[in-house]
């Protein structure tokens, strides 16, 4: 900025010197005449101005519309010059000229008037851009554009879309466009359009049919109602699958959060109340990684997986050496001490980083949803987390069943004294197990950073749930944790639609209490004499 005022004033002098010709040049540019009408407070007039831009066929119109859609088309208050803001964070923004798209230095937000749009105009712009996108080279882009047009077709678009359908080679794009036209015909009150739409599970189609079923025209209303009944039948299955997916997804989060606790529970013989904060550390590691690698959220997220594991595992070792080893065999004191550790860690994050939540970016390939059919789509971020949870579980099973460490951990968990008598160094096993459990908590944090807030309270929200899962599944049993987590998730999501989120949680809690009354050792109790000790 220090350099720029001089640059700007230089520019200004230049303008003054050649003042008239430059102004005349701007006047001559037909673009100026197209943009000028946008500088009005009336949204209706802006709509007309946008219409004029679209019809002008000016080569720059696409960039103007995109800038307008992003709120980046702005007008200098004094000179009336239109600019496109390149980066609109902070106080001084780099801008380019809206006519020539040449660099125009920096301007402060005090000098600029934004050409504001509302939702109606946004719809108009998106429609116009979608029509332009129908000519894109990529099939995927054309399909997306066609889908965006569903329910947004107005009379002016019918002819251009027809022309596109005739020239389009991809069947899917043609089908979507036909559907978009049929919705438009339906809205115009044409009963025959219902046939073209029946069987589609698309939300826009259903919405249009619903509106039509309330129509004054009895023929149209009847046709729409029967088409809707058909769709409704197909939707029931979809809804069931959707609820199952929601449940598994919630369950996978519970499993991830709880599984580390299940491992440490075994060796400690008590609850590690700081487990939630270890999850939080994993999440903050993801944030820190993204700060270190700006502009590459995906890579940062992948690197956070080992980094989150290491950070949390290290913290786990420190907690084990610093606190827990002195409290062996005193579960109540362990509980209190680790609760203290959890408070310390929380306040540490608040003081050192910030009491505010941190923004963790979701990479492009994890946003949006995977469409199975028109009525059922699975959100990608949760799908990845579900897969990640299963991979972590499988890896842990391998470690516990197939490695020397796993064998020793199982031995120490079952009978500490006997294991030591057999020459196992119990202290070393304690440290390694705790590091492993804490590391897995860190992994959970990395995954959770994609689903929820990364803030000092992140851990607190999950500690009770994890505890519930571990107790329900049977203490120290990995399979138990998996089954318990997934089933609690599904039960919760099945209950939620009719009980509400608050009541569903209570019902699940009551269910667990009753279950523990009946089977105090959980779903998969440890068997044998060792379990009694």
């Amino acid at each position: 900025m220090r350099m720029l005022p001089r640059f700007l004033s230089g520019l200004l002098c230049l303008c003054l010197l050649c003042g008239l010709p430059l102004a005349a040049q701007a006047q001559d540019d037909p673009g100026q005449a197209l943009l000028d009408p946008l500088a009005t407070a009336s949204y209706a007039e802006k709509g007309e101005a946008i219409e004029a831009i679209i019809e002008s066929g000016d080569a720059r119109s696409r960039r103007w519309l995109e800038a307008l859609l992003g709120g980046k088309l702005q007008r200098h208050k004094d000179t009336g010059r239109f600019v496109v803001v390149v980066e609109n964070r902070g106080r001084n923004w780099p801008v380019v000229d809206a006519l020539s798209f040449e660099d125009a230095g920096e301007m402060s937000r005090r000098e600029l008037d934004r050409i504001g749009i509302n939702n109606a105009l946004r719809g108009q712009l998106q429609g116009a851009l979608a029509v332009l996108d129908l000519h894109a080279d990529e099939v995927r882009e054309r399909r997306e554009a066609a889908r965006a047009l569903l329910g947004d077709v107005d009379a002016g678009l019918v002819e251009p879309i027809r022309a596109v359908i005739d020239g389009e080679e991809d069947a899917e794009v043609r089908r979507l466009l036909e559907q978009a036209l049929a919705i438009h015909r339906l809205e115009e009150g044409e009963a025959a359009a219902v046939d073209a739409l029946s069987g589609s599970l698309n939300a826009q189609v259903r919405s249009a049919l619903n509106a039509a079923s309330r129509s004054e025209d009895p023929e149209l209303a009847a046709a729409a109602t029967s088409a809707l009944a058909d769709i409704e039948q197909k939707m029931t299955l979809n809804r069931g699958l959707e609820t199952l997916y929601f449940g598994l997804s919630l369950g996978s989060v519970l499993v991830l959060a709880a599984i580390g606790l299940a491992i440490t529970f075994g060796v400690m013989g008590g609850i590690n109340m700081a487990h939630g904060e270890l999850i939080m550390l994993g999440a903050y590691t993801t944030w820190a990684m993204q700060q270190l690698l700006p502009g590459q959220p995906g890579l940062a997220l992948l690197l956070s997986i080992p980094a989150g594991f290491l950070v949390a595992a290290l913290a786990g070792v420190v907690i084990e050496r610093g606190v827990i080893q002195f409290l062996k065999g005193r579960p109540l004191e362990t509980l209190l001490a680790t609760f203290g550790v959890s408070l310390i860690l929380q306040q540490l994050v608040r003081t050192v980083i910030s009491p505010q939540n941190r923004s963790v970016v979701t990479p492009e390939w994890m946003s949006g949803s995977l469409m199975l059919n028109e009525g059922l789509s699975l959100t990608l971020n949760r799908l990845y987390v579900l897969g990640f949870a299963l991979v972590v579980f499988a890896a842990l099973m391998l470690v516990m069943r197939r490695t020397r460490l796993g064998l020793e951990v199982r031995a120490v968990t079952q009978n500490r004294g006997m294991a030591r008598a057999m020459g196992i160094r119990a202290t070393r096993v304690d440290i390694l197990t705790f590091a492993l459990g804490a590391g897995v908590a860190g992994l959970a944090g990395v995954a959770l950073s994609q689903l929820t807030n990364v803030g000092p309270n992140l851990g607190q929200n999950y500690i009770i749930d994890s505890f519930m899962v571990v107790v329900f599944g049977g203490v120290g049993n990995l399979w138990g944790t998996l089954v318990a987590g997934l089933s609690l998730g599904v039960i919760n999501q099945v209950l939620e639609p009719w009980a509400g989120a608050v009541l569903a949680k209570i019902v699940v809690l009551v269910f667990i209490i009753l279950f523990i009354q009946k089977r105090p050792r959980g779903l998969f109790p440890q068997k044998g004499r060792a379990a009694e000790g």
């Binding site: 504001g116 929601f246 505010q356 946003s367 959100t379």
Partner: protein, 439 residues
């Protein structure tokens, strides 16, 4: 730790003041005017309240730079109630009884205000409350500089109905007193004013910090595919909004299809979110950082200088403190003293500039006049204002849309001096329905 800092600063100030004693006895003999700040600096609400503490500190510094008030220095006294509602009452008592502050700026959640209320009334303090709230309350000792429901919720719903053509309504909120009361008022308003029937209203409550929104968003999607324009009126509070909006984006709910208008999401909350998928969703406030006035730009510059953070944002409750602080200083000047009773009388009718180019006046019911703005979320975490009320709206303590509450008015001027005067019965003391409404 933070709570100790002002005390240290007091010592630091005391030394030069004492040395000045010989020269200017008048200045030195007078103690500083104490400004209490009662905002959580730790716990769940720290995310929102820390900036308000900083705001008041900044205002105090500015006032001192201009020569203080009545020739006396101002001193900020900060305590940390740690998002713990009963602790708010204890800390308020500490401020009033031990520190003997002349005024308190504080609180965010309604439940914390309800906890402080009896203390402030008992010890006759002054409390400026800067956050939008559910109304149905009026206290002699509290000044509500945030919005009452008729200054935020009702105009927002009006906008959706008249300008957007919404016919079906989802009222989604966090499960506590503010969302429940606001939604009760909104339901009554929708039914009475627009004739909306029960099946066109879906009400949903979630706990604080709720993070699994899959099912609820899917329900909203189904509710919105009935072929009539649907909108979500969100009183979801705190950071539960982040996963909520993220789920909306992932399930492909676009602002053009089902707009969400939020009453608790401001610039501060958006700093924790990738706002790309949220563009076009709405919020109703009385101030946005994007307001295009010179007073606002000056305020933002001062705020950035105070925090030392180029990217620092301002929000509505900060403006409320700005207005409240200026009203209080104006009233103290008018009364010539910081005596609580004198200031209370003097402040009614005081009018100070707000940040959106107009004036805010303190009404006899201890609420202020505010413009109502509707903004759409932009991809840079700011709001673009799409609609505003033609003039300012005076805050109404008792909603006109609730049974019982409709008959009550609040007027703290002499001779009435009553917070819940029943115009039907012609006496002070509220009504039966009011007790029910305030539960």
């Amino acid at each position: 730790m933070t709570s100790r800092r002002p005390a240290m600063r007091a010592h630091w100030l005391a030394a030069p003041l004492l040395s000045l004693a010989v020269v200017t006895p008048a200045l030195a003999q007078e103690d500083p005017i104490k400004v209490g700040i009662l905002h959580s600096l730790s716990g769940t609400m720290a995310i929102s309240e820390t900036v308000l503490k900083d705001t008041v500190e900044m205002l105090v510094e500015q006032q001192n730079a201009e020569g203080g008030l009545l020739g006396r220095e101002l001193e900020a006294v900060v305590v940390d109630p740690a998002s713990d509602w009963p602790l708010f009452a204890e800390k308020a008592r500490e401020l009033l009884a031990q520190e003997e502050v002349d005024v308190i700026f504080g609180n965010w959640t309604s439940v914390s205000r309800k906890s402080v209320l009896p203390v402030v009334e008992e010890l006759n303090g002054l409390l400026f409350y800067p956050v939008q709230y559910e109304g149905e309350e009026s206290s002699e000792n509290v000044f509500y500089t945030g919005a009452a429901p008729n200054q935020q919720a009702i105009p927002a719903v009006n906008y959706l109905h008249d300008q957007v053509g919404v016919e079906r309504w989802v009222l989604a909120g966090t499960d506590y007193v503010y969302p429940r009361t606001t939604n009760k008022i909104l339901e009554a308003f929708l039914k009475n004013e627009f004739g909306v029937v029960d099946e066109d209203i879906m009400v949903n409550y979630t706990p604080f910090g709720h993070s699994d929104w899959q099912n609820i968003v899917s329900e909203i999607k189904a509710f919105g595919s009935e072929g009539r324009k649907t909108a979500v009126v969100s009183t979801i509070n705190g950071d539960a909004n982040v996963p909520f909006y993220r789920e909306l984006g992932n399930q492909g709910i676009d602002a053009a299809d089902i707009p969400v208008v939020a009453f608790s999401v401001g610039e501060q909350e958006l700093t924790g979110i990738d706002t790309g998928p949220l563009v076009g969703h709405l919020a109703a406030w009385n101030y946005f950082m994007s307001v295009d006035t010179d007073t606002n730009y000056d305020f933002i510059d001062a705020w950035i200088a105070h925090t030392g953070d180029e990217m620092a944002v301002t929000n509505d409750p900060m403006e409320a403190h700005y207005i409240g602080f200026n009203m209080w200083t104006e009233a103290v000047r008018k009364a010539g003293t910081t005596d609580v009773d004198a200031v209370k009388d003097a402040i009614i009718g005081v009018s100070v500039p707000n940040l959106s180019g107009g004036y805010a006046a303190m009404m006899p019911n201890h609420h202020i006049t505010k413009p109502v703005l509707i903004g759409e979320i932009q991809d840079n975490g700011q709001f673009s204002i799409v609609w505003e009320t033609p003039s300012t709206v005076a805050g109404d303590a008792w909603s006109d849309y609730l049974e019982g509450s409709r008959d009550l008015i609040s007027d703290w001027r002499k001779p009435m001096e009553c917070g819940n005067y029943n115009v039907v019965r012609g006496s002070c003391g509220g009504s039966q329905a009011e007790e029910e409404a305030s539960e």
